[in-house]
Assembly symmetry: C2
Homo-oligomer: 405 residues x 2
C-alpha cells in the first residue's frame, strides 16, 4: 500500500541537501499513489570502497526510507565504467580480469548494502548489460547531447583543464554513461551525495533528450565524523563502520559531538522527521545531551545489530564507562596519529611513570592486571588502533585516557 | 617494377608543402623497392563537393604520380563521419537516407577522381565498413588516446571554444575516426591539404598507439586561382574545373598570372621536377611568359582531355584570341558578381551604346552577328556565367571585355 504524497513528502525530504525539483517529486508521488505503482529509485555505486560506514550509509538510509514507503530500488554497479577506467591497456585479458574483480567486489559490497536495504525491494544491475551493446553511432548520439564547454564546467574537469593536467576524452563519458543508465532504467528518482551533482543532473538532461520524463535528483549532505569537523572517512579514523561490533558502535555513537546529535538523527537513522523535531526541542529545553545520545546510540546500533545485541552493548557501555568504575577525571595522554597502538606507546607509559618498564607491563598483562576500555588485555599486541577517548587501566589505580592528534 | 628510392624521392617531394617526415619516407621507399611491394597511399575524401577543380586536384595529381611510381591508393569515403554529422536527429530513417545520398555523391565524385587517378591502382572504401562495428569499449579506447586539451589545440576548435560557440563532444571524434582509418588500412602515406594537418597527424598518433608503423604525412599547398590571390574556389569564380570543355580550360590556363606559372607546373601537372627546373630557368632568362603558358595550357588540357582535343583547343585559342581577330585593346565593362549573364547585362550594353536596344541585340543574335569568346551566340540565354576576361563581339567592330567584381 503506497500512501498519499502528503504522508510521503516529509519523509522523502528529511535531511535532504538539495532536490531538483520538489514539484516534480510531488507529481510522481501523486501518480504512484493513484496507480499504486512504486517509483523506480536509482542509486549508482562504484564498488571500489569495500567497507561501508555511516557516512556512506546516509544515501542508503534515505533509500531504505523510500523502500519502506513502498518504492523499488535499482542499484547500478558501474562495472562498464570500471572496465574502461584505463583503456590504454592493450590486452583483452586484463579487462576480463577486471570484470571478475568488479563482480567479486560488488558481491562483498552488496552484502553490506543489505545491512541497510530491503533485499526484496532491491534489484542489482551491472551497467555493462546495456552500455556494452551501444554502437559507435549510438555512442555519438550520446556524445552529441553535451558540449565540451558544458562538460568542462564540472569542477574537477575545470580544475584539471586549468592546471594543464590531461583529461582523456573518454573521461567525458563517465557522466554520460551514468546519465544513460537513467535513460535505460527510466529512473524516477536518483540519489547521490552533493559531490555527484553534475553526474546526477546529467541523467535528467539525457532522459529529456530521449523523450522520457526527467528523474528527480536528490542530493544528501556529507556526514561529519566523530571529530565533528571532517567528512566521515576511514582514512581519517573518525568513522563508525556498519560492520563494527555492537559495543564499539554503541560507544562510538556516544562520542558524537553534541552539536551533531540532530544531524545524526536526520542522516544516520530512519526516525520520522516529527521525532527528530522532538529531539531538537528536548535539546533546546536543556536536557542532558548524554541522555539523548544514549537514545541515538541505541537506535543506530539497533539498525545494524538488532535489539538483543544492542541491549548487551548498552549494558557493556554503562558498566565499563558510565557506572563510575572508571574515575571521572583521568589524565590524558596525547598520541600521534600512526603511533596509536599499545606497542607504540609503551615508552610513553614509562615516561609518564604509569609503568616502570616494558617487562613490568608485560608481566601485569600476563597477570590480567591491564584493561583496555574495561576489557582485560590478553597480550601485548591487542587493542590495535587506539582512538581518542579510549581508556587504559593498569593495576587498580593507574588510568590514562588517550587523545589522538 | 618499383624503382629505387633515389629516383622516387624527388618526384614524391615535388611541390610538397610539408612532410612528416622525410627520413621515414625514404625508409619506406627503400623497403618497398627491396621487396618490390607497393606502398599503401591513403586519401580521405568528404564527398560533399561535387565539382572538382585544379585546386582539389593538387592532392590527386600527387597521388597519381605515386601511382605511376607503382604504389597503390586507397580512397576513403568518410560516410560514417557523414552519418553522425548531425546525430541529434532521432529518426533512423533520416540516417539511412543520408547513406544513399552519400553513396550517390561518392559515385559522381569517383567518376571525376578517375579523370586523374589510375582506376587499376585505386581502391575505394567506405569507412562505415569498420567504424560502424566498433563497440563502446573500443570507442573509449580510441577516445583515451587523446586529451581534451590536445584536441582543443586544433584551430577551429580553439576558436569556437574561445568564442563560446558550442562544440559537441561527438565532434572530437571526427579527427579520431580519420586517424583510425589509417590504423585499419595500415596506411604508409596519407596526403592532405595544409588545412588537414591536425587530422592527418592524428593517424600517426593512433597507428603508434596500436603498435603499427607510423604513416608519412604529406601536406600539399593550396593553389591560388586565376586572380592570383585567393585560394582556387568555385564560389570565387577563379577556378579551372577538371570537367570544363578543352577550349575553356585552355583559355583559362592562359589567364594564369605570370608569377604563378611555376607553381602551376609544380601542383597542376605531373611534370618531373627537372622539367620544372628548366621552366624556371627559361623564365629567368627572360623568355616570354605567354609562350611558356602555352606549354602549360597544353600540358594541363592534355591531362584531362587527351592530345586531340587539346590540339583543337589550342587552335581555337590561337584563332580566336591570338591571331589578332580580336583587337589588343578592348574597352572593359565592370559587372557585379551575380549579374554576370548576358540577360542581365543587356541594359549595360545599351547604356554603353554598344547596342541601341534589346530588340536590336536579339536581331543581331538571330543573324549570327554576336560572338562570345569567338563563338557565335545562338540565342539570348546562352553563355551563362560570364567571368573576368570574357569577350563579347557585336557585329564586326563592337568589342567589350568583362571584369566581374
Amino acid at each position: 500500500m503506497i500512501q498519499n504524497p502528503e504522508v510521503q513528502m516529509p519523509i522523502m525530504l528529511k535531511g535532504v541537501h538539495t532536490i531538483v525539483d520538489e514539484g516534480e517529486l510531488y507529481d510522481k508521488l501523486k501518480r504512484s499513489f493513484d496507480e499504486q505503482k512504486p517509483l523506480t529509485i536509482k542509486l549508482g555505486l562504484d564498488p571500489s570502497a569495500p567497507d561501508i560506514h555511516l557516512g556512506h550509509a546516509v544515501v542508503l538510509r534515505k533509500i531504505k526510507q523510500m523502500q519502506d514507503l513502498g518504492h523499488h530500488v535499482v542499484i547500478i554497479i558501474g562495472n562498464f565504467t570500471g572496465r574502461i577506467g584505463d583503456p590504454t591497456g592493450k590486452k583483452k585479458g586484463r579487462a576480463a580480469l577486471g570484470d571478475e574483480q568488479v563482480k567479486a567486489n560488488a558481491q562483498t559490497y552488496c552484502e553490506q548494502i543489505f545491512k541497510v536495504l530491503t533485499p526484496e525491494k532491491t534489484t542489482v544491475r551491472f551497467n555493462s548489460e546495456w552500455l556494452s551493446k551501444l554502437t559507435f553511432e549510438e555512442v555519438m548520439k550520446l556524445a552529441a547531447t553535451t558540449s565540451v564547454a558544458r562538460m568542462l564546467e564540472r569542477d574537477d574537469f575545470q580544475n584539471r583543464y586549468q592546471n594543464q593536467t590531461p583529461i582523456g576524452i573518454h573521461e567525458f563519458f563517465y557522466p554520460l554513461m551514468q546519465g544513460y543508465d537513467s535513460v535505460e532504467l527510466q529512473a524516477d528518482i536518483e540519489l547521490g551525495g552533493t559531490d555527484q551533482t553534475f553526474n546526477v543532473l546529467m541523467g535528467r538532461t539525457l532522459q529529456k533528450h530521449w523523450g522520457l520524463e526527467k528523474q528527480v535528483a536528490i542530493f544528501m549532505p556529507l556526514l561529519e565524523g566523530l571529530d565533528g569537523v571532517e567528512k566521515m572517512s576511514k582514512s581519517l579514523g573518525n568513522y563508525i563502520g556498519v560492520q563494527e561490533a555492537p559495543e564499539v558502535m554503541f560507544k562510538k555513537v556516544m562520542e558524537v559531538p553534541d552539536e551533531l546529535i540532530v544531524k545524526y538523527f536526520e542522516l544516520a537513522t530512519d526516525e520520522h522527521p516529527d521525532m527528530v523535531e522532538k529531539i531538537k526541542n528536548r535539546l533546546a529545553d536543556g536536557e542532558n545531551p548524554r541522555d539523548i545520545k544514549l537514545t541515538l546510540a541505541n537506535i543506530i546500533t539497533k539498525l545494524y545489530h538488532g535489539s538483543e545485541e544492542t541491549a548487551k552493548a548498552q549494558e557493556f557501555f554503562e558498566t565499563a564507562f558510565q557506572k563510575k568504575q572508571i574515575p571521572d577525571e583521568i589524565p590524558i595522554m596525547t598520541i600521534q596519529q600512526g603511533q596509536n597502538t599499545i606497542d607504540h606507546i609503551i615508552p610513553n607509559l614509562v615516561e609518564a611513570q604509569l609503568i616502570k618498564s616494558k617487562s613490568e607491563f608485560l608481566r601485569l598483562i600476563a597477570q590480567k592486571g591491564v584493561s583496555f576500555n574495561g576489557e582485560k588485555l590478553e597480550k601485548e599486541g591487542m587493542a590495535q588502533g587506539i582512538i581518542s577517548g579510549d581508556v587504559l587501566q593498569i593495576g587498580k589505580k593507574r588510568f590514562v585516557k588517550f587523545s589522538i592528534v
